[in-house]
Symmetry: D2
Subunit: 419 residues, 4 copies
């Protein structure tokens, strides 16, 4: 594989991460990425939360290689395959039912945006309403339906048509606690003259990854769930980035004790970076006609294989969940200690479980910190409307040593950036 | 992998192919799918045109297994990887440039709908217009932007919101040759009082796979391209189903000698059923801001590996292209001989290269033919607005014997169905 | 009333007719307008077809002055008034019922756009569909709902938002007879894969006044009515410009023998230039909730008074209708004789009853003819997408002498313009 | 004028006021309406604020009758007429310029909805943005553009299509003072990730008549104006119901010292119940192409005549303005005394100038009060999302005796209703 062309000129200018990290990566193992010339990078980014079990996780790798070697089916749309049936049974019996969820499983397409599009379409079909409530700084995807409920104005303008049928409501703590939760939303719903189109659904992330690691309190999520129930509005939880154990439990909403009507999963669900997405539906909502929503890559069998294997390996008991909580607390404590070193208001620590954020009052300092970290062999990305929050998404399987080492690098990078 | 649950109850009722073919598939090789109990099915469906090089193609399989075994990078968003660079260079140098195409490559997400959404967004951004011209019986995907340019009314109603910003125009031969090509479209464009919003783009499939194997004549495509140029409307060719050699040349539009402004590829591009999609842009249209369109699974490295290997293996010379044309002619001749056996108008043969259709005046007979074929070990699906067209998408690598055998099965299935 | 300011600078640049006819008018009587300095203009424009009974018609004037002098109610929203009741009874008993129309009367607001907006809203409410079929070169008004079904691209761009929920179909003779009527519309309706959203309604003008005096044949209207019935699509006739006797019968569609589901009237309905609009509804469609559509000037009592008086005066027998047909035939013959004087294709005569058009192959010549006519004391306006059609809308009450004189002026103006 | 038919069956069920007041009115003079059988009603409704100078005001009546008697022009679209020029000069010189307003005058059509539609269209055209901010419980009209910025859910549902391109913000005191003004709006504007489409304009009523006589504080209006300026958002004041002196000064926003970019006027502008509407534009915003927005009844000359006469009669000095303020204070004091008689929270007095509201905690009591008042010869209507606010709109020219008498009737009606 010798590459002689400068391939950056061959690719659309829309590329972004390769601008932040201008090196070529080749191999990856566990918590590390490697370049051809032997540099290694500790990965606190994990492909935007996709590689929860580490890169090329050996258990999943074995299952995948065996599956492929045996000429099992790779591609089959929504035909029945042994891999599909195994995944459906494993996911339902080991993940859904033990958590009291009676949802059916829909395969809406290969990526998270497909899961969101299917959720929105079904919510509208079921309720006969068109309007969706989203939240400030939400991120749900780039296709037209998903983009309409996404907050980022730069990405919204890429639509080229007005993005309508959605109304943004303030996410938890949007006013720094100065205003009671949901006061605006509840008032608009109660007032028949408010001008708010009655919503089909609310779509929410329990932690807003792209939006800046904004973390909803559990009571805020519970109240949101109650409001939805009171007004017969469907509750969609987009657990694409923070589901699959990122916050501790398999679903990020478990801790709040709520049961969403529709749940979107993708990213880490296959456990190996293989494209897969699920939309989980309360069974009474599953009013699709056969084939009413379809698509080519809905049954990517290798992803079923690694996904089922990941469930068997990591979700048969609470070992991973417990370790995520413990590691998360360690990261939190470390971030707090960094924050405490700096003047009040310069830094803020955020997050839950193993999605953590370090918010900088000065976005330039966040950028500089990222660059410093990269130079020191640590991959962290920024998020938030002004790219002012460093987002930490280490593998859930990261070792304590790696975690300690990465956080030390981050501390130094931060201090150097802040001067 | 012992499955004890009846997994059909665990899955959303939206599933469709598993209703047509109520068996569980396990393995696949070349032109065949196999069930656990040893039955084999000759595959004239190939996952809706995804498996152009046959299932688990051994050359691609070797490359894939080696890549995975060496712990090369699987998931990396749009970071630079050796696999990405190799694909970009190979695709550009061996596919694009030899065909006189100077397009840049965008990775819009893992599936075809992502490619279409990105194409539509960019066309609107570039032109500042919102309206898109699509064609009757078009199929471009299930996300909200792609669904708006899709014809099927059942699927459109699944949107739950009015699908707007698009106007359908008659596809080639929509009036059985009774009306001159483009007479309505050109009149509307020429008349400033027509009420047609000036389109940003036209999106077209050269052969409509889902729409019923409707096959545009080359002169129709050329005239469409001219009209677009005359009116400064962008031409988007959705080559997701019939690109990658399905009609002979790598791109289905090559034969017509046109150069689309934007090209959508997916399905067969990876050659191995691995989710990958491309949106190809004339370089002057590549006005995206960095990150303006993003998404998680835009850089699925194993797909890059098999895609590049497929190009090196099958597109270094014209062997595959020539064989596709030859096999296509053979299928055409066979279908014509079946048609000729029946009363005038009962059957019609359609298609180009190795996408072929057999249209039944009676949709029930098409269904019965499919069932007969399945019972005899042949997978063929129907398409068209009334599911009245049997669509043949055999692997391009199918052997002559397999092709002959499958067509014989189809002939018998058809005759039995028609009585 | 001495005006010293140059008031053109005080008014928005959106004004248009005052650019065509840069004089100030003061008084009007019958077929003539007068300026303060004593010039008179024969009016073949009649305020875009508003003054069907001539300016300041003495019979209506008497009724109006008496009504106002007696301090009868002028403004009352939709409260009951004696004037309202008299109008409702007179209109229903003398206009609707004798024509076999059992429609109820809705007062949607003071102008034609209100009548159209109410019609579209009700059609959508009744059918639960959102899409409307309009026709090329239609004109239905400037408010957002009405503008979406209007053809003129300059006016559409004034909306500032994409105008959606409508699809234009070719009006009668859009292809000069080369293509069978409704072939495209019927094909799209019959094909469930066409991509056409099933329409709530079709809105049509029997003669397109603003669109260039395009005149639908009666059999085209009948076939349109049948198609609507076959597909359970509501038929809305916008009779705002050509109803109230303009084509002969009170309604322009009478001659075709069709019964629209919804009828829009305005312009000439008051007979005196007083703002009034009606939306007539087949009783089973009248599913409005009380007050669901409201507005301030829905019950302009002086307009009721003159409207009722006009009905009693002009519609008790067929005198006016007969005379309109006779005069229309005379205008037609005259226009034909003008056309016959010129090379083939340079001029075309169009129209029905007393709405007539003279279409110029060269729009500049149409403009020049208008200016010549104005200089010679005749008011005629142009219409059509390129302002290429001179539109004649003389008062229905015009005398034969006036009509002859005006046509002679037009002939000279035309010949001078064409050189 | 003998009416024998029961005309209620001839009219659409959409009628509403005739349900509240099931009598037929015939004549009107000053503050009173009269029925044919000699009953008289003191009018605290004035046709929803249209008859500010009383019914059939004798000064305006003389001007109108003379104008009509002399056969002056009644209808002329936007042609120059002496009446139009006189109005333009009078309105500009006596109303606009003395108030420091350099706006140009646009005649958008006969009613208030036309004024709003034109304002929204122009705001979008000027800014190139599509989104409008409206307020909770706003009322701006029934046409599709105006309805999208109206709050009432029953009326919104009448649209039959999703009403989009608008986002409601809380009106002044929407949270009873618990939340700082504009905290949500400003936060959304400041946050590029909020998901709010950048607005073209804000449209606001200084007092919400239909919304329940909600009265914005002057500092709230000033802050709104500042926010608009800071963010380059156009400010549209819809002064259709409370302009023309209703709150004291000619424009309701004068007192706040703000200068809106666009102003909508209608209802009372003609002074005689004659349909007329104005859209006033800051001259640099007047970018309309000639004829880009047009319409039939934009130049209703009799309305120009009475409008100009009303300005000369009532706005040459501050007599009317002063008396409105004085009378308003008297009404306020009376309402306060009624409120004080009842338990805390049962009644609330609202309003400014001579638009006043009495809000009932129990909407049924508001209805009963209206009925009691009607039985006692006083016309008052309810407003607000639950029809819980009795709205008082007496003529500005009402005598002290009439005002006192009406308020006494209202007091009794209220007390009887509350028991």
């Amino acid at each position: 594989m010798t590459v002689t062309t400068d391939t950056t000129t061959l690719e659309s200018g829309v590329r972004s991460y390769s601008r932040t990290w201008p090196v070529t990566f080749e191999r990856a193992q566990g918590s590390f990425l490697h370049t051809p010339d032997g540099k290694e990078y500790l990965d606190f980014f994990t492909g935007a939360g996709v590689m929860n079990y580490g890169h090329n996780n050996p258990i999943l790798k074995d299952a995948l290689l065996q599956y492929l070697a045996e000429d099992n089916i790779v591609h089959s749309l929504d035909m029945f395959t042994t891999a599909r049936e195994d995944f459906l049974a494993t996911f339902t019996e080991q993940i859904l039912r033990p958590r009291g969820l009676d949802h059916t499983v829909m395969f809406p397409g290969p990526g998270g945006a497909n899961a969101v599009e299917a959720a929105l379409k079904l919510a509208r079909k079921v309720t006969g309403r068109e309007s969706i409530i989203n939240f400030t700084n939400a991120f749900h995807g780039m296709t037209l339906g998903a983009l309409a409920v996404t907050g980022n104005s730069m990405k919204r303008e890429g639509a080229g048509v007005p993005l309508v049928h959605s109304t943004p409501m303030p996410y938890d703590d949007y006013f720094n606690g100065d205003i009671p939760d949901f006061v605006y939303f509840e008032r608009l719903l109660a007032d028949s003259g408010s001008g708010l189109n009655t919503p089909a659904a609310v779509i929410v992330e329990t932690v807003q990854g792209e939006g800046g690691v904004n973390t909803a309190r559990l009571e805020w999520l519970r109240r949101l769930s109650e409001i939805c129930r009171e007004h017969e509005i469907l509750l969609i939880v987009d657990d694409i980035q923070v589901g699959c154990g990122r916050t501790g439990g398999f679903f990020s909403f478990e801790e709040a004790g709520i049961v969403p009507d529709i749940i979107c999963l993708s990213k880490a669900i296959s456990g190996y970076g293989l494209p897969l997405a699920l939309t989980l539906l309360r069974p009474e909502l599953d009013v699709w006609d056969p084939g009413e929503h379809n698509g080519t890559f809905r049954g990517f069998a290798p992803a079923f294989v690694t996904a089922a294997e990941a469930i068997r390996t990591y979700w048969a008991d609470t070992t991973l969940e417990d370790s995520t909580v413990t590691k998360g607390a360690f990261v939190e404590a470390t971030l707090n200690s960094i924050v405490a070193k700096r003047p009040e208001g310069e830094l803020t620590a955020k997050g839950r479980g193993l999605i953590r954020g370090l918010e900088f009052a000065d976005p330039d300092a966040a950028q500089a910190t990222c660059r410093n970290a990269f130079d020191a062999g640590l991959l962290v990305e920024t998020s938030g409307p002004r790219d002012e929050v460093i987002k930490l998404l280490p593998p859930l399987t990261i070792s304590e040593d790696e975690l300690t080492r990465g956080l030390a690098t981050l501390r130094t990078a931060t201090m150097d950036a802040l001067g």
